[in-house]
């Protein structure tokens, strides 16, 4: 087994209503001994109360009263478990059509997507949507779990037909650089989820958990250029650190080293990295994901939202963005409306100049001329900015290629954008 100690793997799950998503998660928790006695007792008690003759694991994940009443998942829930190998975080996202925004939300923070299919139904409209959103967010590692194999008598031919159907979808997709793994399971009985199953003896691949345990971090990490956006400027103003100006931020992509020639945007000023620190220790280098603070050789003016990059890896610059928007608000998105555009730590006034078209999420890539985007719609838009943005295409650097739109009146996060 690959050594993954002290590493966290973030998963997200997508499935339609009744595909057994919560049951799958419950099964993983149960078979990895992650359910504590008191939680298990609560599940047993509740299952009995509801008159089920099996353990209803969905009760382990559906946290809100309304969810338990309706037997559905409304909001993204986060579930934690660990094996002796590493820790896992599952973002459990609802499968209803009207909750697309939740799937985008859950997928945006995960490294592996698990798409659930009901073996009786095969690839349906919803599966296509899940795969489409997964590809829009460029999730590289995908697990397709064909669930409820017990209800089709563990039939290999039927399973193969579903895989073949799914592969047609893959062939039609524009995102090629991904690893897709198919696994037949029965979450209700635990076949092939964590433990191998006699019922699926014909399946020669790994169980779902074996597969997850063997995913290597270096294979799923984004290979991107170093982008350091300043969150806040640290100025201690103490005797010991009299002239100290540290730029604090979380490195997105790549690596930074002391001595690197850098350019700061929007000013375009050039300098060199003088020091890299994490808490009270100095380092020679830092890689993507580290929350560091750096100092520069020159006394240049740097403030929140500024982007520091290596001088030979410059970002794109524009005041007119083209971006795919996933709309998340009850109020539809209309041309000429204004928003705050938040790009990491940078906030810019913005105006929707045009909605080019709405994109069908059923993986046909079909487009439709529209005047507005409603909640859960995806559309291609043109956005005018009050100040230039220094960015990368989302497909080159996720962290520097995505933004959110904030409603200027309600302050809510109304949509998320992926820059062309």
């Amino acid at each position: 087994m690959i050594e993954n100690k002290n590493k966290v793997l973030k998963l997200s799950t997508a499935g339609s209503v009744d595909d057994g998503k919560s049951t799958l998660i419950g099964r993983i928790l149960y078979d990895t001994n992650s359910l504590t006695d008191d939680k298990l007792e609560a599940i047993e008690r509740n299952s009995k109360q509801k008159g089920f003759d099996y353990l209803d694991f969905s009760l382990a994940t559906d946290g809100l009263v309304a969810e338990r009443e309706q037997g559905i998942t409304i909001d993204v829930a986060h579930i934690y478990f660990s094996t002796s190998n590493r820790s896992y975080i599952i973002a459990d996202t609802p499968g209803h059509v009207e909750y697309t925004r939740n799937m985008v939300t859950g997928t945006s923070t995960s490294q592996v997507s698990i798409i659930l299919i009901d073996a009786r139904k095969g690839v349906i409209e919803q599966t296509k949507r899940h795969f489409f959103i997964n590809n829009l967010l460029r999730t590289k590692e995908v697990v397709v779990a064909v669930n409820k194999m017990d209800l089709i008598d563990f039939d290999e031919a039927k399973y193969n037909a579903i895989v073949k159907d799914f592969q047609k979808m893959i062939a039609a997709s524009d995102y090629k650089n991904q690893n897709i793994t198919f696994i037949p399971v029965s979450a209700l009985n635990g076949d092939n989820v964590v433990n191998k199953s006699e019922n699926l003896a014909w399946f020669k691949g790994e169980t779902m958990m074996e597969h997850l345990e063997n995913i290597r971090m270096e294979d799923i990490q984004e290979k991107a250029k170093a982008r350091f956006q300043v969150q806040t400027v640290i100025r201690p103003k103490t005797e010991e650190f009299h002239d100290f100006r540290g730029y604090a931020g979380k490195l997105k992509g790549g690596e930074l080293k002391v001595g690197d020639d850098v350019t700061i945007f929007p000013s375009g000023r050039k300098s060199q990295i003088k020091s890299i620190s994490f808490f009270d220790k100095a380092y020679l280098a830092a890689s993507a994901g580290s929350s560091i603070s750096i100092t520069l050789m020159d006394d240049v003016n740097v403030s929140r939202g500024d982007l520091i990059v290596k001088s030979d890896e410059l970002p794109k610059e524009t005041k007119q963005l083209k971006a795919t928007i996933c709309w998340m608000d009850n109020q539809p998105l209309e041309v000429s409306s204004t928003f705050f555009l938040q790009h990491g730590a940078k906030l810019v006034k913005s105006k929707i100049k045009a909605i080019d078209h709405k994109i069908s999420t059923d993986n046909t890539g079909e487009i439709e001329k529209v005047n507005q985007l409603n909640m859960n719609d995806l559309g291609m838009t043109e956005i005018q900015l009050a100040q230039p943005l220094h960015f990368d295409s989302y497909s080159d650097n996720k962290g520097n290629g995505a933004f959110i739109l904030i409603d200027t009146k309600s302050n809510t996060t109304a949509g998320v954008g992926f820059i062309e």
């Binding site: 590493k7 966290v8 504590t36 006695d37 008191d38 939680k39 509740n46 994940t61 946290g63 009263v65 909001d75 829930a77 986060h78 660990s82 820790s87 975080i89 925004r101 985008v104 939300t105 945006s108 923070t109 969150q231 806040t232 640290i234 201690p236 103003k237 103490t238 010991e240 650190f241 100290f244 604090a248 979380k250 890299i276 620190s277 994490f278 808490f279 009270d280 220790k281 100095a282 380092y283 020679l284 280098a285 830092a286 890689s287 994901g289 929350s291 603070s293 998340m328 705050f340 938040q342 730590a345 996720k398 962290g399 995505a402 959110i404 904030i406 302050n411 809510t412 996060t413 998320v416």
Partner: protein
């Protein structure tokens, strides 16, 4: 000079969140109970802003039913780091007749904290309250955002939360609203203990095994501290070697029998535990939706 920063994704995420709070809000405060989670928060805040001081004060809602060890620890920490501490007493609210003390066998001041918290927020004008709640603790908390908006009455609208995509945190609010911030949302209990171990952090002594006078009720071990915790005549006091896994109000926190006298043993114990942390929180046992209800009303 050290080679390359070794990153711990959970720590990096928490530091990132602290820095967003400092940049996006005018008057943030760290909700500090003296428990291990809030001590961890203080440590992370130190790291986020070093070499500057932590740019937030601490706020403690004192139920008056605390473990004395926790209060001692709190005052020591505040002194060492040169922080500002605000304390609001639930007792003041009871004396003023704003809230009523619970009665009966399960009486606790845990619920009464909410009013004091909301008053403190209003009095000081705090716009961001940083708390040590974790999503793995309880299933209503599993639905909580990192930046969780509360209305003018401190209420949580769980069905209408702002989506949080990637790591972008939207802290824009109207005057009178506030945001509850949870930097260690994604940590588990074991993550916290492992961190305390790795960082060699000081924590209150009640987290380690010690002798204590206790009595048993409903399969849980309660502190025999008659002044704060109701005890019936037939509930007999014995001395046991126990420790606390979670520290709240004395009247709602049960002890566990343990011989974990040091941090290494505690980490071992937690890793092997088959009972969840909040299994020892008497306040969660009230109903299936106990936490969700309290959160809607403004509980942290």
């Amino acid at each position: 000079m050290n080679d390359k920063v070794i990153n711990n994704p959970l720590e990096d995420e928490a530091i990132y969140i602290f820095r967003e709070v400092a940049a996006q809000f005018e008057k943030p405060v760290i909700l500090f109970s003296g428990g291990k989670d809030s001590i961890t928060l203080v440590r992370l805040a130190q790291k986020a802003f070093y070499p500057a001081k932590i740019p937030f004060p601490l706020l403690h809602i004192d139920t008056g039913h605390n473990f004395p060890e926790t209060i001692e620890f709190r005052d020591q920490l505040v002194k060492e780091l040169g922080l500002e501490l605000h304390v609001h007493y639930v007792q003041d609210n009871i004396d003023a007749g704003n809230v009523q003390e619970e009665s009966g066998k399960y009486a606790s001041r845990n619920m009464l904290q909410t009013d004091s918290l909301l008053q403190a927020i209003e009095k000081h004008g705090f716009d961001a309250c940083i708390g040590g709640a974790r999503r793995d603790e309880e299933k209503a908390r599993a639905k909580e955002r990192v930046f969780s908006v509360r209305d003018d009455f401190g209420q949580w609208d769980e069905k209408n939360q702002r989506p949080e995509v990637f790591d972008m945190l939207n802290g824009r609010i109207d005057f009178g609203q506030n945001v509850r911030v949870f930097p260690i949302s994604n940590w588990t209990e074991l993550d916290v203990w492992s961190y305390i171990q790795k960082e060699n952090m000081e924590i209150p002594s009640i987290y380690f095994a010690h002798k204590r006078n206790v009595f048993e009720r409903d399969g849980l071990i309660w502190s025999a501290h008659d002044e704060y915790v109701f005890r019936a005549e037939d509930e007999i006091v014995t001395e046991k070697i126990v420790r606390f896994r979670t520290v709240g109000d004395m009247s709602c926190t049960a002890a566990v029998e343990s011989y974990a006298f040091d941090i290494d043993k505690v980490v071992e114990e937690i890793a092997a535990s088959t009972i969840s942390e909040r299994g020892a929180r008497i306040d969660d046992k009230r109903s299936e939706a106990a936490m969700e209800k309290r959160k809607q009303q403004g509980y942290f």
